[in-house]
């Protein structure tokens, strides 16, 4: 099982590099993921998306509809791909510590 060590804490990841335990997330974990996703620096917009995803997930235990994510963060889908090259599901959700989306997505 692959692992990411952040601030001395071992965080278990699944085969796609997503966190197995969302509760272990903190901002440093996001920064560690950013490196592997080819994101050199997390700016205000990155955090806006990440925080929205975390809040929604805490409340509803699922990632939001992509359209809703775009609207609530005022980021177009194209801009989200600019921020997170792997996209909203595989990029942003990973950095936000959400579990990997499953199904026909």
């Amino acid at each position: 099982m692959p692992c990411l060590t952040v601030n001395g804490v071992d965080i278990e990841l699944d085969e796609d590099g997503f966190m197995i335990d969302p509760d272990l997330w903190n901002e440093d974990v996001a920064r560690a993921f950013a490196d592997s996703e080819g994101i050199s620096e997390l700016n205000e917009d990155h955090w806006k998306v990440i925080n929205y995803l975390r809040d929604y997930f805490k409340q509803y235990h699922i990632a939001p509809m992509v359209r809703k994510l775009c609207q609530e963060t005022s980021c177009s889908l194209k801009y989200i791909y600019d921020l997170f090259p792997s996209g909203p599901a595989k990029g942003a959700c990973k950095l936000a510590g959400l579990p990997k989306p499953t199904g026909c997505v």
Binding site: E15, D16, Q59, Y60, H61, I62, A63, P64, M65, V66, R67, K68, K90, P101, T102, G103, C104, V105
Partner: protein, 460 residues
Amino acid sequence: MPEYKGMVQPVRATPDEMRKIFAEPVPDEQKPEKAIEYLDEIRKKFRSFVVAMESCVKCGQCAENCHTYLGTRDPNNIPANRAELIRKIYRRYFTLEGRWFGKLVGAEDISLDVIEQWYSYFYQCSQCRRCAHVCPFGIDTCEVTFIGRQLLHWLGITPKLHAAVGGAMEKVGNHTGLPKPGIVDTLEFMSEEIMDEFGVEVEFPVDKPDSDIIYIPSSADFLLNPYTLMGAGMFFTYIGANWCIPSNVTEAGNFGLLFDQYYTQRGNVNRLLNAAHELNVKKIVWGECGHGWRAAKMYVPSLADRPVRWPLTHVHDEAAELIRRGELKLNPENNPEPVTLHDPCNYVRACGLNDNMRTIMNAVTVDFREMNPHGVDNFCCGGGSGILFDDPEMYQRRIQLSQKKADQVRATGVGKDGNGILCAPCSICKAQLYPMVEEHELGVHVHGLIDLLAKALVWK
């Protein structure tokens, strides 16, 4: 890096994930013996399988008709050869010539290598049945893939994607793991979006008792396909239906059909029938999902543990009927872009939805261009049967598997000005085509058919 002796394989499910869907993994040293035991049970039960094992004359008709072979040029992806991966074992253990002459008649001993080969190749077949469509003997290699995957599942080998989907279905009644609060929140959002964009008030009732109709959407609609979800709401509101969405089965799909028709597929069927019973409905209307519609229309009566007293129709059936009766006022000018239709394999080759889709298409668009071939002869999008793996090796495979589809779309010219629409009324097709149209640079957006219908509705 999922590879076994040079063969790409999808990432496999862990033993815990398998146990969640009632499969107990078999230890490696017992796998070969168990494989033969299960194969023996299967061959005694399924005539379609025995036909495939014994009647193939290797005429090769299936080869150039399979998008998998066309995209990868790997000889084992020729349907006749894919079936041969089991046939060579079948021949060895269940035929006289195989037992006596072994390799001389193309019979082979079972081994872990063979089982791993099955895992690689049965998850490159999309169960699209185009091979069955052209086979002069009517051999359905999709049946062989069903059985190949079932055997692998019983041995404890299933892709993580499929097992996770099965587990999610067990837990919340849909493939994406959507819990009820998320469903309700998303539907409220959809109502707001419809008001913003179309100026119409549409409500999405959830779990409303004594509804006439329950609508079963694909759960992917709640994440990736907003217009399909909005479209369904608009359609039912337009016709004044007494409808609702059942929160514990918001899933038009049934991945059980694809890899485990014993527990997983059956479990989903019973869940559906429980919901219909509890809400006391009169009809079940299915959303846009290809394999799910086949699993529902063709398998529910025989897999159900009780008499099925509700008619099962597809939302396209309903819409097409109303269009034929002139009961929907439509303005096709609302869809001015050039459109082409990708026929989901299970719709056209397994469920007879060919004509109904076109009835709708012709009524709601002004520039509809058929791709070639189309209808029952259309090619698979490449993602069928859940081949939506995104680890790097399998993702590259998906690009190859969608090559034929890309060529077809390009040839229609709909994407020439970058504003084309590729209509693909199935969630797996959408999930495959969203990234693939970008990879192949086709200049099109992917939409469902109900999406286009909703845009064309003329409200009073």
